[in-house]
Each structure stands twice: as structure tokens, then as C-alpha cells.
């Protein structure tokens, strides 16, 4: 009986975490796809999203119709990711995973600097979407249509990409690349093409996730860029390999954060640390990775 009451108590927080969870889920899935295909963990995911969000916002400010702004934003983030995948990533393809991930960190810093430079930091902005106006009440929580759409969109995109990977030839190539790059290259899998495609998908996911987060949370260079950290935490909990796991991990991360916000004001400030701690505890318990073994 007490458990049931506790669960009922939690439901509002779970509901309020739907939007954020959906964004993290989308991000987590995007990260896992790229990691599986190219072995690179993209730290610039959040920054790509930030660029998309800021462009969408700026274009709306300048009078461009909102939908066009979103499309341009996502297109630019997609293009940025594709460009990086085409130009910089191949030069580091022979280095170990850590180096490749650290390189994307540099890209993230670069983009963060650019956004902060042009649009400033600490300015309170939100990216308003028309679907914010209507809402549904679920378990006593007001959920804007945007959040529901976020959930639907991330489910659709994650599901879509999952189908793509399992049903198409290119998807097969991506999965082959994930298991063994050298052999895949030797049997004719077009490594560069598939890598670039993986980056493209990553950029697209990032743009959409960024726009949604800029609406749900706020339009701020730091917040958007470091969205990537809870997303990575969620991806780790999926061991960087399972798509459904990544999705669920992202939803859970979002709900944990919503829970922390609602618990108390002091803890709310620490809410951004929540996913990190959860991921660390998870890693310690599960002990991902080998003990003694050659470094990758």
C-alpha cells in the first residue's frame, strides 16, 4: 500500500520528465548510433543542437517564418556534423577512441565559444514553439503539446533509425563497420560513405534535440552544449551499443532530473549532477569494460 502511494506520488514527476526525457533519449540514441558506426563518441552533439536552436531563434527574430527557421537550423547542424565527419574525422580514424572523442570535445568548445560570442551567455531566452500554447493535464502536471510531440518524435526517430539499421543495406554496412572496421573495409564496405552518413544522422538528431531542449529548458549556449553529458550518461548505461537501452536510459535520465528539480530548491541546483552520479554508480556496479587488457 505504501509502495503504491509512493508510486502515485512519483507520477507527476515522471510526467514532467517526459519532455526532458524524450530529448535525452533522442540524444542518447543519436550518440549510440554514431559510436556504433564509427567508434567515435561525439562530445559536440549538444553544441550542434545549440547551433540549430540559436539559428532557428535568430531567424524567427528576423521575421522568417518559424518552420523555415527550424528547417534551416537542423540543416545547418546536419551539415556541420557531415562536414566534420567528412573532413576531420577521417584524419583521426587510425587513432584510438579516446583521441577521436577528445577531438569532438575541441569542436564542442569551438562551437560553444562561437555561440557564446555571438549571442552571449546568461541571457534568459527560450525558444518558443507554437505547440507550447496547448497543453494536456497528466497526473496533475501540465504538459505542453511540445513535450508530447517531443516524446512522439523521439520514439519515431529512434524506431525509424532502428528499422533503417536492420532492414537496409546501408544499415547493414553500418552494423558491419561497428563490429570490425578493417574487415569491413576489406570486404568492400564503403567506410567513408557510411561514416559520413552516420555523422549526418547524428547532426540531424542533434539539431532536433537542440531545438526541443531550447524550448523545454532554455536557449543558452552552456545548457545546450552540455546537454551532451547527461546524454552520454544515458548512452553509457546502454553500454554504448543498445538502441532501446539508450532510449530508455535517456527517458530515465530526464525523469531523474525532473524528480531532483521537484524535490527541493537546493537539490534542484544540483540536478545537473544527477545523471553523472547515476552513470558513475552504474559503471561501478556493472563494471563495464575489461580489467587487464590492451588499451583501445
Amino acid at each position: 500500500m505504501r509502495v503504491f502511494a509512493f508510486a502515485m506520488y512519483l507520477l507527476p514527476f515522471i510526467a514532467s520528465g517526459i519532455g526532458l526525457g524524450a530529448v535525452y533519449a533522442l540524444a542518447s540514441v543519436g550518440l549510440v548510433i554514431l559510436y556504433r558506426a564509427s567508434g567515435t563518441l561525439n562530445f559536440a552533439f549538444g553544441a550542434f543542437g545549440g547551433v540549430a536552436a540559436f539559428l532557428a531563434w535568430q531567424l524567427a527574430q528576423d521575421g522568417v517564418p518559424a518552420p523555415l527557421g527550424w528547417i534551416v537550423g537542423v540543416a545547418v547542424s546536419t551539415g556541420l556534423a557531415y562536414g566534420y565527419g567528412r573532413v576531420f574525422a577521417p584524419r583521426l580514424a587510425h587513432r584510438d577512441r579516446v583521441v577521436r572523442a577528445v577531438a569532438t570535445l575541441g569542436l564542442a568548445l569551438f562551437l560553444f565559444g562561437g555561440m557564446a560570442l555571438y549571442w552571449g551567455i546568461g541571457v534568459a531566452r527560450r525558444l518558443v514553439l507554437p505547440t507550447d500554447l496547448n497543453f494536456v493535464v497528466l497526473f496533475g502536471v501540465r504538459l505542453s503539446y511540445t513535450r508530447l510531440i517531443a516524446l512522439g518524435l523521439s520514439l519515431a526517430m529512434a524506431g525509424g533509425i532502428g528499422l533503417f539499421l536492420s532492414r537496409t543495406r546501408i544499415g547493414l554496412g553500418m552494423r558491419a563497420l561497428a563490429s570490425d572496421r578493417h574487415i569491413s573495409a576489406a570486404i568492400g564496405v564503403r567506410v567513408v560513405q557510411i561514416d559520413s552518413l552516420a555523422w549526418l544522422v547524428n547532426g540531424m538528431f542533434a539539431g532536433i534535440a537542440g531545438i526541443l531542449l531550447a524550448n523545454i529548458n532554455r536557449l543558452d549556449a552552456g545548457t545546450l552544449t552540455f546537454l551532451v553529458i547527461p546524454a552520454i550518461a544515458a548512452a553509457i548505461m546502454a553500454r554504448l551499443s543498445s538502441l532501446p537501452g539508450a532510449f530508455i536510459g535517456g527517458m530515465v535520465a530526464g525523469m531523474i532530473e525532473a524528480l531532483l528539480i521537484a524535490t527541493s530548491p537546493e537539490i534542484a541546483n544540483l540536478r545537473s549532477a544527477g545523471p553523472y552520479v547515476a552513470a558513475l554508480i552504474f559503471l561501478m556496479i556493472v563494471g563495464v569494460g575489461q580489467g587487464v587488457g590492451a588499451r583501445e
Binding site: 569551438f110 553509457i236 537546493e266 545537473s272 559503471l283 583501445e296
Partner: protein, 348 residues
């Protein structure tokens, strides 16, 4: 001369067995750091003096980061957070006990060392990527935490906070003999020299050899009887200690510390400085650390938005990854070649 253009990047550079003896290297460390510090002390006004003092603190942070990456291939993205931990611990200790400054520094170093190990040890058994992630998360968690609890300012209780008016804030005092800005800068320079010696001592003896074995092939190291976790932990402890000392010195510089000085991005910048300067040689840490402070300070001086600094560092990282030597490494190779030429000429 044309020698400079002929320097081809060698993957790994200076080692104990080259003709440069340990004594010569020790002399070079003292001479170079003293000369640079002397020049700075003589020519800098208040703004630059403060910034160079901060830069030297960053040198210590980079020294630790370079130790982990250069000796063991471990990426630590939380070094600046550990500096913050060291600063917090030393401030807390100072307000509690008012000990001699050296003790405060040591306590700060040990404090950061312990925290760094607690966070890093679980990740030591994992693939390198997870360590990088876990340390980045620590940096983020620290930023959140310290924004909430702030740095101690002499108030009551564990957190040492005072009322909103802030009139009762107490600054941490500098050592009596180094209380002027110039004096404190030279004090920090001296501490830097000592820390460089500490790291070099490690590299040339048993721990350095063990780290080299681990880095070459962990299985081989195990088959040679090396206690992997112990030596990795040792490296972590030393790296954290250096960060903690840097934090204590920073606290001494400003008397107080502010949470806004410890964002996650700064830990990333420290790592970038490690790569830019070159992680194989001490000169790399020295130059890299100075650069990470010099560039933002220069931008402020030129009235350029400091976020441009992030763009510079981000782009620099992408290019620094291609070259393991870094600026410090290239300069060291150059210096060694010139020295060998000089020796050859003297012989003939």
C-alpha cells in the same frame, strides 16, 4: 638556420638515456623558469602579474594532466575541478586552524589528491574512454556543487559561509615573506620549480618505469609483476596533489575563490593546454599552462570577448592532436640538437 625546418616529428622524444644528464636537465629547469619568471616580475604591472601568477597555477594543473596522459595515456578532464577542490580544502583548513602557509598548501594538495583518487579509481579498470567521461562528469558535478555551497570565507559551520552582506568575509593571508604581488608571484614560481622536480623524480625512477611498462602493454606489465592499480593510483594521486597545490596557491593569490572560476570548460582547456604544450617534456607543461591563461588575459586586455578564447582553444585542440610533441616538445628537440652541435664543435 635551416635546422629548424628539418625537424621531423619523432613520435616520442626526450628520455633518460639521451646525452642530456639529469643534472643538466635540473639546471635547465631552474634556469629557464627563473629567467622567464624574472622577466615577468620586472616588466609586469598589476594586471599581468596577477594573470601570470594564475598562469603558473595552471602550469601545475597541466603538469598533473600531462603526467596522466603522457606517462599512462589516461585522459583526465577534471583537473581544474580538482584545483577547485584543493582551493576549497585549503580555505576551509585555513579558516579553521590558521596554520603556516606551507601546511595549507600541503593540505590542499592532499585533499584534492584523495578526492581525485576516489573518483578516478573505479574508472581505472575501464577502457580509457570511460575514464575521460567519468572525469568530465566530475568536473560538471563539481561546478554544480560549488555553485551551491560556495567557497569558505571564514564563516561558521562546515561550509564557512557568512551572511549576504559579505562584510564579514575573511581573506586567506599570504605568507609573510611573500605578501606583495611580486613577492607572491616569485613564491609561486619557486613552488612551480619544486613541483616540476617532483614529477621528473618520479619519471626517472621506479614509478616512471612502471608507468612506461603499463603504457606499452598492460598485459606485459602484469606478466612482469607490476601492480597495475597501485601504480595508476599513484599517478592519479600525484596528479591530484599538483592540482590541489595549484588551488591552494590560487586561494592565496586572491584570498577568496569564486565558484564562477571553476566551470567545466576550464578542465577541458587544461587538457588542451597539455596537448598544445606537449606532454612529453616539462617544458610542454610550463608553456601549455602559461598559454591557457595568457590567451584569455590577452583577449581581455585587447577588449575582445573572451569566448573567442574558447574558439581558439577548440580549434587548437583539433590541430594539436595531430602532433604529440607540442610546442614544448619541438623546442626541446631544437635545444638538444643545438647542444649536440655545440658539443661536436667543441670537440673538434
Amino acid at each position: 638556420m635551416t635546422e629548424i625546418s628539418k625537424i621531423a616529428p619523432i613520435p616520442l622524444v626526450v628520455a633518460a638515456g639521451s646525452e642530456i644528464t639529469p643534472r643538466m636537465r635540473a639546471l635547465a629547469i631552474v634556469v629557464v623558469v627563473s629567467a622567464v619568471s624574472g622577466l615577468i616580475a620586472l616588466t609586469s604591472g598589476g594586471y599581468w602579474l596577477s594573470n601570470f601568477t594564475q598562469a603558473y597555477c595552471m602550469v601545475l594543473a597541466v603538469l598533473g594532466c600531462a603526467l596522466l596522459y603522457g606517462q599512462l595515456g589516461l585522459v583526465s578532464l577534471c583537473q581544474w575541478a580538482l584545483v577547485g577542490v584543493g582551493g576549497w580544502v585549503s580555505l576551509r583548513f585555513y579558516h579553521y586552524v590558521h596554520p603556516p602557509f606551507f601546511v595549507t598548501i600541503l593540505v590542499g594538495g592532499v585533499g584534492a589528491s584523495v578526492i581525485g583518487m576516489i573518483w578516478g579509481l573505479p574508472a581505472l579498470r575501464m577502457r580509457g574512454l570511460y575514464l575521460a567521461l567519468v572525469t568530465l562528469m566530475l568536473a560538471g558535478a563539481f561546478q554544480s556543487l560549488v555553485t551551491v555551497i560556495s567557497f569558505p570565507v571564514g564563516g561558521p559551520g562546515f561550509l564557512g559561509q557568512v551572511g549576504a552582506s559579505g562584510n564579514d568575509r575573511i581573506n586567506m593571508a599570504r605568507p609573510v615573506f611573500a605578501s606583495s604581488d611580486t613577492g607572491y608571484f616569485l613564491f609561486v614560481a619557486g613552488a612551480t620549480i619544486l613541483c616540476i622536480f617532483l614529477v621528473e623524480a618520479h619519471r626517472r625512477t621506479k614509478p616512471g618505469r612502471a608507468w612506461a611498462l603499463i603504457r606499452k602493454n598492460e598485459q606485459m606489465a602484469v606478466a612482469a609483476g607490476v601492480r597495475i592499480v597501485f601504480y595508476k593510483a599513484w599517478a592519479f594521486a600525484l596528479s591530484g596533489f599538483l592540482a590541489g597545490v595549484a588551488g591552494a596557491l590560487l586561494a592565496g593569490l586572491f584570498g577568496q575563490l569564486d565558484a564562477s572560476a571553476f566551470p567545466t570548460t576550464n578542465s577541458i582547456v587544461i587538457f588542451i593546454g597539455t596537448l598544445l604544450g606537449g606532454y612529453e617534456v616539462w617544458l610542454g607543461a610550463f608553456l601549455g599552462g602559461i598559454l591557457t591563461r595568457f590567451i584569455p588575459a590577452l583577449l581581455i586586455d585587447l577588449n575582445v570577448n573572451t569566448n573567442a578564447g574558447f574558439m581558439i582553444f577548440g580549434a587548437a585542440l583539433l590541430f594539436a592532436l595531430r602532433d604529440p610533441l607540442g610546442i614544448g616538445g619541438q623546442l626541446t628537440i631544437l635545444a638538444e640538437r643545438l647542444y649536440k652541435k655545440y658539443q661536436a664543435q667543441r670537440a673538434s
